[in-house]
């Protein structure tokens, strides 16, 4: 059933470039990245801090997010994956650690790359800090941070809810 004789298959590449409107809330977060500052937003209802503020709305309360809050730059690994699988469009050398990092002052983790240590040494609760790329390479993106690396501080106890976001 893999290849059928006489049935034609055509290769048809598709490419498209989109514009994405960030909106006022996400704009302050993206401007922060251009300045090398990690800016999240506080929900005026539940007071939790979202980083990144994605749609500018608290996903729990459905309220428009309020004040800017500077978070990080250090954070704690809440859980992680060691990626060994190659795929189309992949930009990072294998194997690598993709970790959920809870930045200090934020209430939700975000995913980033862990480097400058062996994959086998990465732990839930490990303290990490960002390593920024050269300023000439910066754009409105978390890719301004090349990766996170261990700080050497003692691990934080993440409790039984490891894996929660």
């Amino acid at each position: 059933m893999s290849e059928a004789d006489g049935i034609m298959r055509l290769r048809q590449p598709i490419s498209v470039t989109y514009n994405w409107s960030a909106g006022p809330n996400a704009t302050s977060h993206l401007n922060g990245l251009l300045a090398g500052t990690l800016i999240g937003k506080r929900c005026p209802s539940c007071s939790l801090v979202y980083f990144p503020p994605r749609n500018g709305v608290c996903p729990k309360c459905a309220r428009v997010l309020g004040d800017d809050v500077v978070v990080g730059p250090r954070g704690t690994i809440t859980t992680f994956c060691v990626v060994n699988v190659p795929f189309l469009g992949q930009k990072i050398k294998l194997p690598y650690v993709a970790a959920q990092i809870l930045l200090d002052g934020a209430d939700i983790s975000m995913q980033h790359l862990i480097q400058e240590c062996e994959a086998g040494d990465v732990r839930i609760g490990m303290r990490v800090e960002p390593v920024w790329k050269d300023r000439s390479e910066w754009g409105p993106s978390l890719e301004n941070i090349a990766h996170f690396r261990p700080t050497g501080e003692p691990d934080r106890d993440m409790g039984v809810e490891a894996g929660a976001s």
């Binding site: 059933m1 893999s2 290849e3 059928a4 049935i7 298959r9 048809q12 598709i14 994405w20 960030a22 996400a26 539940c46 939790l48 801090v49 979202y50 990144p52 994605r54 608290c58 996903p59 729990k60 809440t78 859980t79 992680f80 994956c81 060691v82 990626v83 060994n84 699988v85 795929f87 189309l88 469009g89 992949q90 930009k91 990072i92 194997p95 690598y96 993709a98 970790a99 959920q100 209430d107 939700i108 975000m110 995913q111 980033h112 790359l113 994959a119 839930i124 993106s141 978390l142 890719e143 941070i145 039984v160 809810e161 490891a162 894996g163 929660a164 976001s165």
Partner: protein, 385 residues
């Protein structure tokens, strides 16, 4: 009060990594023709068609329902397309059933499909998004940290995922339509399988498949006059939640628990572990079997892995899970949920062949999608509610 609805026909394709012998339309029609033949009706007897598939980038065909209308003989009939990511096969069947329960249509044909070999699923599920660092690597990269969280929380031994994988791959050998037929897996061999997305081994991941599933649903009035076995829909439930919010329980999402509670309440089930005879649960990565056993309320928190170790979910166990081989053996994403719903129906209709669970009267089909954020479930039985 809603009308009753019964499944009277089930049809699926032979699933494979590449069905180069057919177009998407041909793949869909293969399942439809089998479902219609199983129901012993013609395509002209269908009043409405509800079709579902996962994101269009998987095949690169935008709005395939428009051109599939030809192959489905949909002229003069309503066609609806449903989309809820990986749970879509389940939610599509639910939307179809609701058209019957609402008394709007007497006979509804519903289809879930995916032809993943036409595109690149890893790419389609790893498109960079403006806010993220592009470190994720397909669905496995997304779900592996959650599995790590479950292992830490529950204290499960590391071989449990491999045990589920061996069970499902072995079960699939009883299912002639399953994509993977790999009879030689042992636990020892599975534990040597390479770590793809550590802690997920290669053998603990689902394949990428081409396939389709179709169901014929009828109102009580029509089903009562219809000869042949039926699967009566006792309850359906759907719930959603955002992909990410502060404090979210990712291992056991609240939306899944709420969906299950709603299903049991509507279906009059007070003790699922005792009252359900067989479960077809959406398990694309082996560790999700114990995780969903807990989320669904079958097993207590942190105990799901013991059910696997004790063989409770084996064919012959107290609650066989995925006797068809499940998503672990066949994963055309847009069809996978409907395969769960259809396999549950086949079990109570007594049509599951080699993987039939003897005496199955009540079965559930379960599907989830997105970042474990969309849930769809149904409860079917050989008797009316």
């Amino acid at each position: 009060m809603a009308d009753l609805c019964a499944v009277v026909g089930v049809g699926q394709t032979k699933h494979a990594s590449c069905r180069a012998d057919v177009s998407i339309a041909g793949l869909v029609r293969e399942a439809v023709d089998r479902a219609l033949a199983d129901a012993n009706i013609g395509i002209d007897d269908v009043d409405a068609i509800v079709i579902g598939k996962a994101p269009d980038p998987l095949e690169g065909v935008a709005m395939p329902e428009l051109w599939l209308a030809d192959a489905l003989a949909a002229h003069g009939k309503p066609v609806f397309r449903v989309h809820t990511a990986g749970s879509v096969g389940g939610s599509t069947a639910i939307v179809a059933a609701q058209h019957v329960m609402a008394g709007i249509h007497g006979t509804v044909l519903t289809i879930g499909f995916e032809k993943q070999s036409d595109g690149n699923a890893m790419w389609a599920l790893s498109v960079p998004i403006p806010f993220g660092m592009p470190v994720h690597a397909g669905a496995g990269g997304y779900f592996s940290p959650i599995v790590r969280g479950y292992i830490k929380r529950s204290g499960a031994p590391s071989h449990v995922g491999a045990m589920v994988a061996v069970k499902d791959r072995t079960n699939a050998c009883r299912n002639p339509y399953a994509h993977l037929h790999e009879p030689d897996w042992t636990l020892e061999k599975a534990l040597e399988s390479p770590m793809m997305w550590d802690p997920i081994r290669f053998v603990e991941t689902c394949p990428s498949s081409d396939g389709a599933m179709a169901l014929v649903l009828m109102s009580e009035e029509r089903a009562d006059k219809h000869a042949g076995p039926k699967a009566w829909v006792h309850a359906t439930a759907m719930r959603s939640e955002p992909t990410a919010f502060a404090g979210r329980e990712q291992v056991s999402p609240r939306a899944g628990e709420m969906c299950a509670e709603d299903l049991w309440r509507k279906g009059g089930i007070t003790n699922p572990a005792k009252e359900i005879d067989v479960a077809e649960i959406y398990v694309p990565f082996a560790w999700f079997e114990p995780m969903w056993l807990e989320n669904l309320g079958f097993a207590s928190r942190n105990e799901g892995w013991r059910w696997v170790e004790d063989g409770i979910t084996d064919i012959g166990g107290a609650l066989p899970v995925n006797p068809s081989g499940g998503v672990m053996s066949t994963n055309p994403i847009g069809a996978s949920g409907m395969l769960r719903f259809g396999e549950a129906a086949m079990q109570v209709m007594g049509k599951a062949g080699e993987h039939q669970i003897d005496g199955a009267r009540k079965a559930i089909g379960h599907a989830y999608g997105g970042g474990s954020q969309f849930f769809a479930m149904w409860l079917v039985s050989n008797g009316k509610p």
